[in-house]
């Protein structure tokens, strides 16, 4: 059986009501019964005593006269009392004078002491019959107490009936109570269960009364409301937190993604020189797992030596300065390395420096490569300068040789001529021809040597300062030098106004002279028409020397600039050095030279020169007249 506190409220209410009612009824019934019994007995005693006294007085005469008949008549008056079951009048000697016994019951013997006793189910009343205070006999009445039991029975039935009726009424009450109290509570309970189950805090319980239950419902609703709002807050806070967490995760992933793709390692350190964060690159570089880096003192991670090397930069960044450095240090795990680092101070909201972020690159290989490059560069420079020296030596040698060889050659030439002059007449046939061959050879050799001298001289004379050269004047000189050839061939040489150029005038004279000379030398059957045009483009001057000569097949366009390379035999005189000299001059002054030509279509030799600082416009204008005159 369940304990009381566990049974449903409805039943509790019912039990309480019923128990209370029943107990009240029982208690009041019982007390009424007891009181009634007590009062009834007392009244019965008084009643019977009074009756006994009346009968005793009424029977005095009969006793005194021993008149049984009248005594009996007196006793018969007891018929009014159905519960008197026996009555006797005793004489003094104890014999019965008269008796009354409707229930054939014998009278008990008279007692000497007391006048009333309860005995079993009956009450016996004794009364002395006296005549002038002299006892003459005794009266005994027996009263059946069955009346009392009957009364008790009637009362019991009554109480039972009342109990049943009140129970029924209590039942009804409890049903009403259930409707009024339990049902709302149950409704509340079901709502609570629903809320607990579904966590739907938006529902509200309908308010049915203004009593405590109403207050309860109201409180419940208020509680639901506050739970709902708190739940909403919580949910929002949770969502915010989740979002913040997601953002943080995202940011972290992004940071890692970025730092992972970076070639350099990134770390963050605090004022206490402990590593707060390090990119994977850093741990990979130091060959240490991240848990031996993050949270550790920098000195422990990279070693005291490396820390000491970095310490000046750390001290500087902690003053709030951005620091960039390159340093070689001995790292605990990876040995001597060159590191290029950038330290950027990190600050709290109040602006106080609380650490730094470092971006680090291992530039050991770079440094090694740089050292290699420097070394190789030095080697290159050495070999370059030795090459330049040997080239210079070679040129100087060629220059000096071609110059000094002229001296003995001059002797051979001069004395050969002297031989012919002096003994020419005495030489016979072949001997004279031999000497002529010697003279002819020495002449050719002289030409070769002087060409070679001119060619090597272009660079050999580099110690003379360059000057502003008016190319119009150089052209005039060149034409003057070519006077004979121009006159002989009937050539016409025309020119645009020419600019100025920086260099040595002799070189430009030689350049123009060679180009014009070639145009005359390699002329077609028509008289040579030579024009010098000037164009400016892209910061350089382009000077074009065009002719109407025999032209040059494209396959020779390069070859012709090689020293002593000739396309023609002795039929056309020349040493083959002219265009090589032209190329040398142009290249010496930072230009290029090439030819555009087809066989039979004339040639156009083009050379470029860097634009000279001030274009000599006035000079050019002054020259214009003379240029026209120059056309022969």
């Amino acid at each position: 059986m369940r304990p009381f506190r566990d049974i449903p409220v409805e039943r509790k209410l019912l039990v309480t009501i019923l128990a209370t009612t029943a107990l009240a009824l029982l208690l009041s019934g019982l007390s009424f019964l007891v009181l009634d019994t007590v009062f009834f007995r007392q009244q019965l005693r008084r009643d019977l005593s009074a009756q006994a006294r009346i009968i005793a007085e009424n029977s005095t005469a009969a006793v005194a006269f021993d008149d049984a008949k009248s005594a009996e008549e007196t006793l018969n008056s007891l018929r009014e009392r159905p519960h008197v079951t026996a009555a006797c009048i005793y004489r003094l000697d104890g014999s019965i004078l008269a008796s009354y016994s409707p229930a054939r019951q014998t009278c008990p013997p008279p007692r000497t002491s007391g006048n009333l006793i309860f005995l079993g189910g009956r009450m016996e009343v004794f009364e002395t019959i006296a005549l002038k205070d002299r006892p003459v006999g005794k009266l005994v009445l027996v009263y059946d107490l069955g009346e009392i039991s009957e009364r008790l029975r009637i009362y019991g039935v009554l109480i039972l009936a009342v109990l049943l009726i009140s129970g029924a009424i209590a039942m009804r009450f409890s049903v009403r109570l259930r409707e009024r109290i339990v049902a709302p509570i149950e409704e509340l309970a079901s709502y609570a269960a629903h809320v607990a189950e579904t966590r739907d805090y938006t529902i509200r319980v309908r308010e049915q009364s203004r009593d405590e239950l109403g207050v309860l419902v109201e409180s419940f609703n208020a509680m639901l409301f506050s739970i709902q709002s708190r739940d909403d807050d919580l949910r929002k806070a949770l969502a915010d937190r989740e979002q913040a967490l997601a953002q943080a995760k995202n940011a972290r992933e992004q940071l890692e993604m970025i730092t992972d793709t970076m070639a350099s390692a990134v770390t963050r350190c605090g004022r206490d020189h402990r590593l707060i964060w390090a990119s994977r690159q850093y741990s990979r570089w130091l060959n240490l797992p991240p848990d031996q880096i993050v949270g550790q003192p920098l000195a422990a991670v990279i070693g005291e030596d490396a820390f000491a090397a970095l310490r000046p930069f750390i001290d500087r960044v902690l003053t709030g300065e951005r620091v960039e450095y390159e340093v070689e240090a001995d790292f605990k795990t990876i040995g001597r390395r060159w590191v290029r680092g950038t330290y950027v101070p990190t600050r709290r909201e109040n602006g106080q420096v609380d650490g730094w972020v470092a971006e680090l690159s291992d530039i050991t290989a770079l440094k090694r490569a740089q050292a290699d490059v420097v070394r190789i560069n030095q080697q290159l420079q050495r070999s370059n300068s030795s090459l330049a020296r040997s080239n210079e030596d070679l040129e100087r040698f060629a220059y000096v040789a071609s110059h000094d060889l002229q001296e003995p050659l001059r002797m051979v030439t001069t004395y050969s001529q002297l031989l012919i002059r002096t003994y020419g007449g005495q030489l016979r046939g072949e001997a004279a021809a031999f000497v002529d061959t010697i003279v002819d050879g020495t002449r050719r050799m002289q030409t070769l040597l002087s060409d070679l001298l001119a060619y090597t001289g272009i660079n050999a004379e580099s110690d003379q300062p360059a000057e502003q050269v008016d190319l119009n004047a150089a052209l005039e000189t060149a034409k003057r030098n070519l006077n004979a050839a121009i006159a002989e061939s009937g050539a016409q040489v025309t020119s645009d106004p020419l600019p100025c150029a920086r260099g040595h005038e002799g070189h430009f004279v030689s350049l123009l002279q060679n180009l014009i000379g070639n145009a005359i030398k390699y002329r077609s059957n028509d008289p040579p028409r030579i024009h010098i045009a000037v164009r400016r483009q892209g910061g350089e001057m382009r000077i074009e020397v065009s002719d109407n000569g025999i032209g040059i097949a494209p396959e020779y366009h390069r070859q012709i600039f090689v020293p002593f390379k000739r396309l023609h035999g002795r039929r056309i005189p020349g040493s083959g050095i002219g265009l090589a000299i032209c190329q040398r001059v142009v290249e010496r002054y930072g230009g290029r030279i090439w030819v555009e030509s087809q066989v039979g279509a004339g040639s156009k030799f083009i050379f470029t020169l860097p634009e000279a600082a001030p274009p000599a416009r006035e000079v050019a204008a002054a020259r214009e007249g003379s240029n026209e005159r120059a056309a022969l």
Binding site: R410, M411, T413
Partner: protein
């Protein structure tokens, strides 16, 4: 023709050229006495030792390329010696180097004669020298 005999100092290390000079003078009918010194060092000694009492040469013909001391030093020696400072100087050189020519321009010599590369050219030097001597008179 002319009874005048010129005194000419020739500083030239190449005897063949000296011989050609003699031939050229002869061809130009130039009566002259040649003092020939074939060594730069000797020439420098000579010009330093010259005193006003000695016979002054009418012309000095200097080669520039000389053993031991070069022609310019000899020229400087002459200019430094009052006995010779007024003597006109012709430089006879085979050098066609522009550098040398540039140097000569600063020396204020009377004539620069490049040694001709053929006989006829060389023989013309005789006339040229004769002209110089006449100018100097």
């Amino acid at each position: 023709m002319s009874a005048q005999r010129y005194k000419i100092l020739v500083v030239e290390d190449n005897p063949s050229d000296v011989e050609l000079l003699r031939m050229a003078f002869k061809q130009a009918d130039l009566e002259c006495d040649l003092t020939v010194i074939g060594d730069g060092g000797d020439a420098l000694d000579f010009v330093r030792r010259q005193s006003p009492a000695d016979a002054r040469p009418d012309l000095a013909i200097l080669d520039l390329n000389l053993p031991r001391r070069d022609g310019v030093e000899v020229l400087d020696g002459m200019r430094a010696n009052p006995a010779l400072s007024a003597v006109p100087v012709a430089v006879l050189s085979s050098s066609s180097l522009p550098r040398e020519r540039a140097r000569l321009e600063t020396l204020h010599i009377r004539r620069y004669i490049q040694k001709p590369s053929d006989l006829d050219g060389f023989l013309k030097i005789g006339g040229e020298v004769k002209e110089l001597l006449r100018e100097a008179k």
